[in-house]
């Protein structure tokens, strides 16, 4: 089978996910609702208590916002992989598995589709930036798109890895709750990771989301706060974040494709 045909298969799987997503208005709204809820409740609720961020220069809502964007990307990415489990239960997966295309292409198409959909959710969240008084230049937006896409691809691969080995929706939701919550809470989305106990610092270092939240925050707040304040928020240089994120992506993608290719 030619590589052009395999590429077509990746495109087909991707296109299906994108069309399905675009038709599912409730899913788009639900996926937006949760992050906005977090942003409003925690932002408004905690802002008075946390007023000394960046020497008072940065309000908590603006600090939280990049984390919430990452959250929207994370949850959409992982939940898009749930469609594999869904398709297994409702038969469509069979149609794909019996087609004369390699399972590697099917898995890659799934990752591509999930990443696109998650990126789209991230972009929708990004539209709130002006409301929060965060100025954005076209160059910033371009870099943010790349960072969100990389985060989305990494997290979708993680989702596909779980979904490939999961037979039931219940099992998948268990994993989501056990894995996604700590991944989200420890990523630095909610609180600065500087000055936390060593054990938490180490857990955060092992959390792939950390390397998504950190560069998104740096780029997003670039023109919102002074360089001095930005330096206190920075965990790693953006280049380091990107390299680590790519490493995590590969770490999830390769076994995900392998696990998917082995399913009967």
């Amino acid at each position: 089978m030619s590589w052009r045909h395999e590429l077509m298969a990746v495109y087909t799987i991707w296109l299906r996910d994108v069309i399905r997503f675009s038709r599912d208005r409730t899913r788009i709204l639900a996926a937006l609702g949760q992050p906005i809820l977090f942003l409003v409740i925690f932002g408004v609720g905690l802002s008075p208590a946390i007023s000394d961020l960046g020497g008072g220069e940065l309000d908590y809502t603006a600090f939280l916002f990049p984390g919430i964007i990452a959250m929207a990307v994370l949850f959409t990415a992982v939940f898009s992989a749930v469609s594999i489990v869904w398709d297994r239960e409702f038969g469509f997966l069979k149609e794909v598995l019996v087609a004369p295309v390699s399972r590697v292409s099917v898995a890659l198409g799934k990752v591509a589709g999930g990443s696109t959909v998650a990126l789209f959710q991230g972009v929708l969240m990004l539209l709130l930036a002006p409301l929060l008084g965060i100025p954005l230049t076209p160059a910033q937006i371009l870099v943010l798109l790349l960072l969100m896409w990389l985060t989305a691809a990494t997290m979708t691969s993680l989702g596909v890895l779980f979904a490939a080995r999961t037979r039931s929706m219940e099992g998948f939701h268990m994993i989501i709750n056990f894995v996604m919550m700590p991944v989200f809470f420890l990523s630095g989305a909610f609180f600065p990771l500087r000055g936390v106990p060593l054990w938490m610092e180490w857990l955060a270092r092992l959390d792939p989301m950390t390397y998504g939240v950190d560069p998104i925050r740096q780029v997003l707040l670039q023109h919102r706060v002074s360089e001095a304040v930005l330096a206190t928020l920075r965990l790693y240089p953006i280049a380091v974040d990107v390299v680590v994120l790519i490493a995590f992506w590969m770490l999830f993608l390769v076994p995900a494709v392998w696990a998917f290719a082995r399913t009967e």
């Binding site: 045909h5 794909v96 019996v98």
Partner: protein, 329 residues
């Protein structure tokens, strides 16, 4: 070249032997039926033939390609309609077909022409751009058949193509299957547990507990049942069997409380059966009596000693009865 050649196919799931040494050939252009009760190994056999499952032992060639060593070539040569619906309900009929065409590497112009042609044949042309979610069960199944045929396969597998459909829709599906065979000369391999439907096949393999216990044309299979079949309901089946055996020298059997006798020229024997049962000590009441040409059901009963249909339903009913009687005590 044969459309399908299966040789000693075996599939185990742990301790369970789902398919236990199955051998058969299917000719090009034939409608070949796999008939058997639920759990007999029909779907497992299909899954092995279409490369979704690896055989534990044995070999099979489909359209001339080995299912173990040339799975990609097999996949390109076959179409499949699964037992459970496998359409994407969020997409339109046309989108479902287009994705299929893309996965099978069809040229766009070929796809469009063929999709329109097939949709017209199964009378779905006016629903082409509707979401599949809005389709009835019969329409979905028709669309799946179209999809299975889109890439011009040499062999079309239909796993219980009429399961869960009402009788009228089932007849329709069969009309389409016949028309397809006529127009496309495609080989059709289907499984069913509906006896009446298996009669439509050119040849039938009867499968039970993972083994083929008979393989022939429906006519030849039915001819193995001696003549006609008389069904008698009486007040005392056990005594009725004994009396028929001694007085008429026949071998009746009891299935679900009904006494069944195979007799040549059955219509002339009906009065005698009634007489033998009602004149005797004690006289047995004949509640009903019927005569019919043998069906594949009778073939299955003759081969296995039990009825094929509603095995599940029967055991469910029995369980319910047991629960009820326990409650009463």
């Amino acid at each position: 070249m044969k459309a399908i050649e299966a040789r000693d196919l075996v599939r185990r799931f742990g301790d369970l032997i789902a398919v236990n040494g199955v051998t058969f050939d299917v000719e090009q252009g034939e409608i070949f039926g796999f008939l058997g009760p639920n759990g007999a190994g029909k779907t497992t056999t299909i899954n092995m033939l279409c490369t979704l499952l690896r055989p534990t032992a044995g070999t099979a060639r489909v359209a001339g390609y080995d299912v173990c060593t040339q799975p990609a070539a097999v996949r390109r040569s076959i179409g499949l309609v699964f037992q459970d619906p496998s359409l994407d309900e969020q997409l339109t009929a046309w989108e479902n077909l287009r994705f299929h065409a893309m996965l099978y590497g069809m040229q766009r112009s070929d796809f469009e022409r063929r999709a329109q042609e097939l949709l017209a044949m199964v009378e779905l042309a006016d629903r082409t751009h509707d979401l599949v979610r809005t389709f009835s069960g019969g329409m979905k199944r028709r669309l799946e058949i179209v999809r299975g045929l889109l890439h011009v396969p040499r062999v079309l597998f239909l796993d219980e193509p009429t399961l869960g459909l009402d009788p009228q829709t089932r007849r329709h599906i069969w009309d389409y299957i016949f028309r397809l065979r006529e127009k496309e000369n495609v080989t059709i391999f289907l499984t069913t547990h509906y006896m009446e439907e298996a009669e439509h096949a050119d040849r039938i393999a009867i499968i039970d507990h993972g083994r083929i216990i008979a393989l022939d044309t429906p006519e030849n299979l039915k001819a193995t049942v001696g003549g006609d079949v008389i069904h008698v309901r009486t007040s005392d089946p056990t005594r009725a069997v004994e009396r028929l055996r001694t007085r008429l020298q026949v071998e009746p059997r009891v299935v679900d409380g009904v006494v069944m006798v195979e007799l040549p020229q059955g219509e002339r024997m009906v009065p005698q059966v009634v007489q033998v049962l009602s004149n005797g000590d004690p006289p047995l009441e004949v509640q009903s009596i019927s005569l019919r040409r043998p069906t594949l059901e009778d073939v299955f009963i003759k081969l296995t000693g039990r009825a094929i249909r509603d095995e599940g339903a029967d055991s469910m009913a029995r369980m319910r009865m047991a629960v009820r009687s326990r409650r009463r005590h």
